[in-house]
Subunit: 351 residues, 2 copies
Amino acid sequence: GADGDDISAEDPWQDEEYFGSYGTLRLHLEMLSDKSRTETYRQVILNNSSCLRGKVLMDLGCGTGIISLFCARLAQPSAVYAVEASSMAEYTRQLVKQNGCEAVVTVLQGRAEELELPEQVDVLVSEWMGNCLLFEFMVESVLLARDRWLRKGGVMWPSSAALTLVPCQAHSYYTEKMAFWERPYGLDFTPLQPLAQQEFFTKPKFSHVIQPDDCLATPCHVISLDMYTLQVEDLEEMKGKFHFHLEKSGTFHGFTAWFAVHFESLETGGETVELNTGPSSEQTHWKQTLFMLDRPVCVHAGDSITGTIVLRRNPIWRRHMTVTLQWSVNSSSTEETDNCQVETKSFPMWR
Amino acid sequence: GADGDDISAEDPWQDEEYFGSYGTLRLHLEMLSDKSRTETYRQVILNNSSCLRGKVLMDLGCGTGIISLFCARLAQPSAVYAVEASSMAEYTRQLVKQNGCEAVVTVLQGRAEELELPEQVDVLVSEWMGNCLLFEFMVESVLLARDRWLRKGGVMWPSSAALTLVPCQAHSYYTEKMAFWERPYGLDFTPLQPLAQQEFFTKPKFSHVIQPDDCLATPCHVISLDMYTLQVEDLEEMKGKFHFHLEKSGTFHGFTAWFAVHFESLETGGETVELNTGPSSEQTHWKQTLFMLDRPVCVHAGDSITGTIVLRRNPIWRRHMTVTLQWSVNSSSTEETDNCQVETKSFPMWR
Ligand SMILES: [Ca+2]
Ligand SMILES: [Ca+2]
């Protein structure tokens, strides 16, 4: 197990832990039970079924092989290479057989980096997205596979991705974790608030469900990825800007982030399919990611919040990153400059 | 960290992990946010406030010190010794001061076994209950403290405890974890069912919430503990029997267990207070514990389910135990003997 500072004996990719967790059913069940996610991939295959005839596909990090099975059952590809690094691959092979797809789908157990295929592929499909889009950096494996195995002019699914941010209220989370200590059972527990801030507000909150009503402004795209041109080096530091005009008064508790990905059609002019994990779409297993400020701020309709977001990949722990938010609130009702001071907070995910 | 089989370098009490987790706020917040639990202890103090005047109390495993603070604020004890092994003790001291109770409440950081007090106590109060009542075996520390520090004729809070069992339906859990694989997205994923059984039904499910409607019979007390006479050796193996008459037809998916504890009054003839964690009481943070059978069984009103439960403490990992259930279903509608076969299943919690 990890020992905090001593990384000498450890794998900075933490592959044993990472692929180990995908060797159990829990995560696969969570992903498969996510209808929004899984049906989107199914819809992409279905919409493109005629164009997929005779094509070669790679399904990278295939898990139980659901996407490969959709391909084989709903289209007529000439081959699907289903690649899975975890021990789930053994079961994936059984599932392929059980569903009569073994003539089309070949399961390969191994890491993307060590992959050997008999041919280039026409389509590289993968569900690589993590919390805040990039967390766990499976996307790096996708880019390496792309550069090595996608034929010139081949198609990436998803084809593009975007990270969205919004300033928000989070009354119930704040009440539950911080205001709670003010007077529980008639007692004063405020000496625990610094501990609560450290424990609950230092890291982002995964699996947050934001209500559209708690968005203080129109959400804004802060980072966009083109899956054809994105380079592994680009992942080291990704920057975005935001400028929000507040549409209502309320309490500014933090920022919430989520992502969307897009699947272009294989047909020219065909419909692009979107998988959106935001609060206005059907809930997914990713939900949203909440970044709490140290102190809530009263804001008013007409105010604006301006700033930047930086996703900095951890130089040692390659599946981790730190999200740094920098912002200032510009009040519409005063001319004072002191309300315009720039604040900054960095959130490790998770190291 | 733990390495499975190699225990040579490890503490079988796992104290670092156990007390380490109580050094963070998360668990304390969960317990304090449990109104049913916390208000019960408050009510016990309040009901007995006149009898507590001038008494000496020990609050073992006091956490943030909430029970000690109730004592000091709602009654007039001469002293309260608040004992906490985790690093939370440092904050508990601050909370005692913040609430003006430092003249009465003394916080002692240390394990119950190494405790030194200046005097015997009249009342030993503790919230030591874990999942399925005994899990984590904090009760052992309470018994050791009782034998060493409770004066003859002193009072234990809780004074008694009981484990309750009921045969039950668990349709949604079964569907979510097992039936799911039958035909997800039109595919046959049944080859994963043995894996699902292993992963989801081998250990008990903590934090299960059973609906009263899913109880197939009247719940039955299977184990009772008298906190005055219970001995540490008794904890090695606790046995109980059950005989349920099914009141409705349905699917027998497993057994659900929960506990209740009782606080006797300091006054002769005074009211006993109960904290009940069952489905007919207000929900607590313990919720209930579900033990799934390997295969669901169709049962009918009039059938009976007879058997035994054994809680066997792990001889190495002292905070763990194995729960073994043995049962047979006696059908009311047939004379066959083969429906009366005895089944058995052992559930490690967690080793
Ligand atoms: Ca993922
Ligand atoms: Ca407890």
